[in-house]
Structure formats: C-alpha cells, structure tokens
C-alpha cells in the first residue's frame, strides 16, 4: 500500500492540474480563470487613466484627455503620432473586439472557437474575404502616406499588446483561453473588408434565378419590380442628367439562362436591415442659419459597441466622431470646417457566373470559346484542437468559384463564380483620412473620389454653408438587367465591361429644396441613364424623412433629435387602413373584437407603452409568412418578395393565386388571410398576456444589445425600453438599430450631439462598458465636448501622456 500512495498522489496532482488548466467545451479552464492573480478577478477594474506611457516610434509627446464619458481627446504633433496613438488607445479600451472582428472578417474563428466555427470560416474564405483584403492592402501600400499611417496604427496597437502580461488580457481571452497576436496592417484591410461584406455583400441572384424559372418573366416582374409604385429617391427626381454623355453598354442578344439552380442552400447573407439614415439642411432651412447634419447607421446592436468615439487633433486638423476599431480616423463625424456621415448605398455589386470546367481536374474553364486556365488558392483554416483544414478554391477571371462540388454543390465539372467589387481592392482608408483633414466641399470631393466599397451615401455640410450628398462607390456599368440573375461565365458579353466614371455617380449639391437625405432607398429615379439595380431598397423611412423636411421652413436641433427618434410606422398605416375596410369581422369573438379595437384606435406610432404595435408586429409576421407559404413549401433557394411589394399584392391583387394557403382545400383570398392571421394573433397575444402581463410594445419587442460572443447573456443587456421597429426612422428592432446617433450644427467650431448603445470601454467589468445604453434607448444625447485648446481641461476627468520610448 505504501508504495502505491506516491504514484497515486502524483497522478491525482497531475489530473487536478490538467483539469483546472484546460478548457472543456465552453467551460473555461477553472483554475486559471478563477485565480485572483491571473484570472478574471484581475479584470474587475475600471480603466487606469492617470499614467504616462512609453510608446515605441513616437516622435513627440501625445496628450490624451478623457472626459466624463471616457471619450479620449487626443492631441498629437503630426499624423503618424496621431494614428499611432489611435491604435494604442483603441487597443487599450477595445483590444478583444478589435482582434476578434478581424478574425471573423478573415474566416479564422475556428482557431478560437474550434470546429463549431468551421462552416462559417469556410464560407468567408469562399466569399473571398481574405483574398479581397490582400487586394485592398496592395492598393493601400501603393500610397506611401496611407501606408505610413496604417503602419503607425499597427505599431500603436502592438505597443499596447506588448505591455500586457497574461493577467491583463481582456476577460474574453481568459474565458476562451487564448492570447492576442500581433496586429498587422492586413488586419486594417480585413476590417474594411468586413464592413464591405456587411454593407455591400447582400444579393440574391441565385434565388432570383430560381424565382424567374418558377414564375416566368411576367409574374416575376410583378413580384419583384425594379421600381416600386412609390419612389422618393436619394437624389431628387428633378435632377438633370444631361451632363452624362457616354455610351451605355448594350444588352447582349439571347436570353439569360432560365434554368433553376441546383443548389438548395446559399451562403449566409448580411443582416437585411443593415442600413442607415442621414440628412442635412442648408443654412436657409436651419433655425440658426448654419447647416445642420445628422447620421445614424443601423447595425446589429453589439457589445462591445461597434463604434468608439474619439477626438483626434494635430496642429493641422481637429476632428471628432465615431471610429471603427481597426480603421483609422473618424468615420462619421466632423472637424472644425466640415461634417460627414454615411448611409449604405446598396447596389448590386455582386454577380454570379455559371462556370463549366473542362474536366475533373478543374484546371481549365470555358470562356469566349476557349479553355482558359484557372488559378488555385489554398485556404489554410486552422481549427482549435484539430488538424488544419486546407480548402482549395478555384479562381476564374470573374472571381472565386465559391460554390462547387466541395461546397454546397454536387457537380464536379461545374460551379458558380462570384464577381464582387469587394475583390477589386481599393484604398478606402484614404477617404476617411482625407475627410478628417477636409476644409471644404472640394476637399470632401477629393476624399471621396478614390472610394470603392462599400458604396455609401456620403452626406456633407460645411461651415461655409454647403450641403451635399454623393453616392460614392465603384459601380460596374451594367447593361440593363445584367447580374440580376445568374450569368453565363463563358460568354464575354456577360463580363463586367467597365465602371461608371466617378464623376457620373449620382450626387446632389446645395439642391433647391434645401436639404439632402438618404435612408437606403432607391438612389435615383428611372431617368438616371445608368442601370441601377438592387433588391430590397428601403421604402418607408425615406418617405417619412423627406415628408418631414418638406413640411416646414425651418428646423432646429430638437427637430433633428425628434426625427432620429421618430417611431411613425408608415408601413402599418398603409396596410391597416385597407384591412379595416375589407376584413370580414362578423366571426370575431368579443375578446378578438377588443383586440381589434385596440389596434384600430392606434395612431401608428410604435411607442413602448402602446399595445397596438405588438398586435401589428405579431399580425404582420404571421401574415407575411402565410402569404408566401408557397416559398416555404418549395425546396429551391428563393427569396420572398419584399415588404412593400407584399403589401402592394395584398391591396391590389387580393385574389391572386399566391394568396391561397397550400395546406387547405379552400381557395383563400387576401381577406381570408387577414382574418386567419388576426385570430392567430389574438390567441398568441392572449397567451402572452397570461404569461408576461400586458403586451406593451417595449416589453413585447424586448430589444437587446448582445455581446459579440453569441450574445452571451452575462455580458449583454436585455429588455431595453426603446420604441420603433425596423421600418421606422428610429429603426430599433429586437437586436438591430441605430448604432450611433449624431447631429452636428455647423457653427464655428461645430456643435455636436451624439450617443450610441454601448460604452467606451470593452471591459464588461467597467462601468463604462454599457453606460450609454439607457440614455440611448430614451432618445437622449450627449453634448459632445469638442476641445479647441488642449490646455482647457475644465471638463476633463483624467489625462495621460504618451511619450516616445528611448
């Protein structure tokens, strides 16, 4: 027994060590994680602010003042020092998010999360995310100025990472048991690529091809029109396009393929509601005579927050606003002379080509009557605790053959290649650096000129009194209908022929109506000579915004705040009045009639204390599903018609055969659907009420801001009291909405107001992690402290000095 005890104790000790030092499933390594000297207890602190830090490569001292919101006001002597400090400070307050987002962008999540993220990673590689980032980086490297700044940013991030001991790592690293790696300039390209995917990565060409095959052209055009019967475009209809004098590409002879696609599942699409609002009024329409500009980008509501607010100043320029961790400069903000903001200018910039390979080796593909060579790109996908996976992706001149027999397809001699503006590469970092330095309209235009993707509606206002909006991006100049459906990869006439010359991009400067605005609606009306197509243009917010600016002569800051927080539900108003006049209510029970009366007395404002918006939401969800039950029943990948057209069909074609419910013998009409879904809604809400109390819109919608790790409940915020839904100007839906609200009046210096659903710190243990959320939900704004003199520190709570490391 004696001789047995020692080995037993040894084994026991090793087991305990191993057991508490390793991660099992989603359980963190408990010894490491809970130890007070190394684990999460070390993260139980607010930022340490009053210090002097040494940074390698700085030329001069950089002063950083923090205001009470933990917003850093950075004063540097030159641009390289400024961007080095931006990198350093972003890492200091948002390191885990900064790195994690670039892992997500490049399809490297399996390295951190293991096999469960493999499908995601493969999809991102096949989408060409890493490839596109490499192309973008090449373009950025061609410009020595941009290159020197992204290198300075890199060095700033790495100065911070190198300061850290494992005990200092953000808590997410400890939870997932890994360590930060050095930042590289490619990661800035990856972050910009991530935004490109998010905002210019949505398309449904293959789904539309299937729908065309199923319905035929006439029915298809009814269900998916290029223009709806309402259109209040970004660029006013009265714009004269006479200056556009180039020849348009001719539509090739012969019909495009009318086959349906053999794949039943397409790659994930970015969130359908990614979009934004922006607008500016001229001095004439402003209460003070100074132009006023506003911007609110609608994105998934995440923690740590998408945006990080900073002031970035050198003796030459001084700017303020929202930054994206990983990108340089202010993205949506203002300086002493100009202000700018973006909304997404969606356009069909992804096309799919059917590829025919010569043989199983896939070394050659057919194009222009010849067999042309393919290229191979081998993606190395590292997987935690497993062998690395190598995925070979074939590239044609169109782009990556994303779907093939190795991925969602079944034919070894065929595939679908993706052509995407995101693969062309572009120095889009330069645009933001130049906007930060801009002094007037010409500088703004110069900054925009080289911008390629994701295409944005760049709104502009200056202290000189100009307002403008350019729809800027690199757009293929397509023949009418090109790329709406699957294209023939062997036909050179189906290739992208050229791009729309930048000066012909639609824009509006100081329009007569005194305001510019955009809300992801159609950019132009049909008189614009170029072919403009995208599925899913916004149809409600834009009309509320434009009607508001047409409604009176002068606007002040409060008007702007009210509009950003406006919950008027135009969509509901357009359908409900029709339903009330046509639905047969004779079979309703008393209980159901009560519920109908609640919604009937609704003023169409989706406010948190109202029950009607909940009834509407439940009703609409059911109605939309049942109208298009034919789509759910079909195994082909297809996209249901968009909301506006759905309502159009219900109101104008109530007897259409698609109104029928497949699973019943009866032939239903729209009116039948209204009644059936209303009864279901009444039942659902009665049950909801029994369980949770009154179905007021606030608690019923239950908006939340979710942590980037699949909304880990411990680090997320739930049940936020905010009104609106995805079709109101205040586009706050369940987990999506205004990710940054900004209003700037172009006084000298400009006066700014802003708020976002998060906080400046990325540390869930900091009181600055989520401290803006409740104010954001309430529609409250911070008065932004735009420092003009770095000595004037009266509203400053702490200051840091970054000094050159000897």
């Amino acid at each position: 027994m004696k001789y047995f005890k020692l080995p037993l104790a040894l084994v026991l000790t090793l087991v305990v060590f191993y057991g508490l030092n390793s991660k099992f499933g989603s359980t963190p390594p408990m010894g490491k994680f809970l130890s007070p000297n190394q684990g999460f207890w070390q993260n139980e602190q607010d930022e340490d602010l009053n210090t002097t830090m040494q940074i390698i490569g700085l030329e001069h001292e950089v002063t950083v003042h923090y205001d009470k919101h933990l917003i850093p006001h950075v004063f540097a002597q030159n641009n390289p020092d400024l961007y080095r400090a931006q990198g350093y400070l972003t890492a200091k307050h948002r390191l885990w998010q900064l790195e994690f987002q670039t892992f997500a962008a490049g399809g490297r999540l399996a390295e951190i999360l293991g096999e469960q993220a493999l499908d995601y990673d493969r999809q991102e590689r096949r989408r060409g995310m890493d490839y596109g980032a490499e192309k973008a980086l090449l373009k950025m490297q061609e410009d020595p100025e941009t290159l020197s700044y992204i290198e300075a940013y890199r060095d700033g991030v790495n100065s911070y990472i190198n300061e850290l001991d494992p005990k200092d790592y953000p808590v997410e690293y400890k939870l997932l048991d890994y360590a930060p790696e050095p930042w590289t300039i490619k990661k800035t390209a990856l972050l910009l690529m991530y935004m490109t995917k998010m905002l210019a990565g949505r398309e449904s060409d293959l789904e539309h091809t299937n729908a065309l095959a199923k319905f035929g052209k006439k029915r298809y055009d009814l269900l998916y029109p290029d223009f709806y019967d309402v259109n209040d475009p970004v660029i006013p209809k009265e714009t004269d396009w006479g200056f556009i004098n180039i020849e348009m590409p001719a539509t090739p002879e012969g019909q495009t393929s009318s086959d349906s696609i053999s794949i039943t599942e397409t790659i994930d699409k970015p969130h359908a509601q990614n979009g934004s609002n922006n607008w500016a009024v001229s001095g004439e329409k402003s209460y003070s005579g100074h132009p006023i500009l506003a911007n609110d980008p609608h994105l998934s509501l995440n923690l740590p927050a998408t945006w990080y607010v900073m002031q970035l100043a050198t003796p030459e320029h001084n700017s303020y606003g929202a930054t994206l961790p990983g990108a340089l400069g202010i993205i949506s903000g203002y300086n002493n002379h100009i202000s700018w903001g973006e909304t997404n200018a969606t356009r069909d910039v992804i096309d799919w080509y059917k590829i025919e390979f010569k043989d199983d080796s896939r070394k050659e593909y057919k194009h222009d009557g010849q067999w042309k060579k393919t290229k191979q790109r081998i993606e190395e996908i590292k997987i935690r605790n497993r062998e690395t996976l190598y995925d070979t992706i074939i590239y044609t001149h169109h782009g990556p053959v994303a779907y093939d027999h190795n991925f969602k397809g079944d034919n070894v001699k065929a595939g679908y290649a993706m052509q995407w503006v995101g693969h062309i590469g572009g120095n889009n970092q330069r645009t933001f650096i130049k906007l930060n330095e801009g002094k007037n309209y010409d500088d703004y235009l110069d900054a925009l000129k080289t911008y390629t993707a994701p295409a944005q509606n760049f709104v502009f206002a200056s202290t000189e009194g100009d307002i403008a909006l350019w729809i800027q991006g690199q757009f293929p100049n397509k023949w009418k209908g090109q790329g709406k459906f699957l294209l023939d990869g062997s036909n050179p006439k189906h290739d992208w022929q050229s791009f729309i010359p930048q000066e012909f991009n639609a824009h509006s400067k100081n329009p007569e109506r005194g305001f510019v605005s955009s809300a992801n609606q159609h950019p132009v009306d049909p008189s614009y000579p170029f072919y403009v197509y995208n599925d899913g243009y916004e149809t409600y917010r834009n009309r509320v915004i434009n009607d508001f600016f047409r409604s009176k002569d002068k606007f002040d800051i409060q008007d702007f705040k009210d509009l950003q927080n406006n919950n008027y539900n135009l969509k509901a108003s357009e359908l409900l009045s029709y339903i009330y006049t046509t639905m047969d209510t004779s079979t309703l029970t008393d209980e159901e009639t009560d519920i109908l009366n609640i919604i009937k007395s609704w003023d169409f404002y989706s406010e948190i204390d109202q029950m009607a918006p909940s009834i509407w939401e439940s009703w609409w969800t059911k109605l939309e599903k049942i109208v298009w039950d034919e789509f759910d029943a079909d195994s082909l990948a297809m996209l249901k018609p968009y909301t506006y057209q759905t309502i159009y069909m219900l109101k104008n074609h109530p007897q259409d055969e698609l109104m029928d419910i497949l699973s019943t013998p009866k032939k239903e009409t729209a009116q039948d659907l209204f009644l059936i879904t209303f009864k279901e809604t009444a039942e659902e809400l009665t049950e909801w009420r029994a369980e949770h109390g009154d179905y007021k819109w606030g608690p019923y919608k239950a908006t939340y801001v979710g942590h980037l790790l699949q909304a880990l409940p411990a680090f997320s915020r739930f049940d936020l009291n905010i009104g609106g839904d995805y079709n109101t100007v205040n586009a706050a839906s369940k987990n999506h909405g205004p990710s940054w609200r900004m209003i700037v009046e172009m006084t000298s210096p400009p006066t700014g107001y802003g708020i976002y659903p998060g906080g400046q710190s990325g540390n869930p243990g900091s009181k600055y992690y989520d401290n803006f959320i409740d104010r954001w939900a309430a529609g409250d704004y911070m008065d932004l402290l735009f420092m003009q003199d770095q000595q004037d520190t009266q509203d400053i709570i702490a200051s840091q000095t970054l000094t050159p490391k000897q």
Binding site: T13, P36, P764, S766
Partner: protein, 117 residues
Amino acid sequence: MKKNFINFIVTLIIALILSQFLPWWHVMVAGFVSALFFSLNRTAVFFIPFIAIFLFWIAYAFWLSQANDFILAEKIAVLLPLAGSWLALLLVTGLIGGFSAGIAAILGKQCRMLVKR
C-alpha cells in the same frame, strides 16, 4: 497544533510570494513545498493548506472585486452559472484554489516520506 499553524503560515507566505510570479498553480507549488518541509498527519495534510489557500484566494479576490463594486463578479456568476451571486463565486474560487493546494500537499507529503526512508 503548532505544526498545523506553522504549515498554515508557510503555505500562505509561499503562495503570497509566488502569486506575484507564477500563474494560478502557484497554490499547488505552495501546498507541495510546505508539505515537504512542514509535514502534517492524516487529514491535516490536505486540510491545512486547503484552508490557507481557500482564505487567501477569497481575501485576494474580495479585495480586487469590492473596489469595483463586484460588477464583473456578478456577471461571471451569471455565466458560470451561480445565479449572479458574487459571494457564491468567491466560495467557488476559494474551493478550487484550496483543493489544488491540498492535493499538491498530499503529493509533497508522499515525496517527503520517500526521502526519509
């Protein structure tokens, strides 16, 4: 009793010093080393270092966390899940530290007996 007290103090001091240099397993080293030099009998072999480290980790963690109003501890106590109770999380922290130290101390005791023979 005196031996117990000495072992307790020595474990605590070693752990305190090593916690500045070593990762979480400093408590295992502390338990092991103190058992090598200040050997105890029967269950005290395990329980004295256990109690020393249990108290050490709890006190250390409490000191870190109370300065920040237990903001993060409450969130981690949701995650683990301990119903959001930072107190429960402190106890678990103490138990894990103490247990590791106790097991390592048993090994230390066995090694010492090997040398003595």
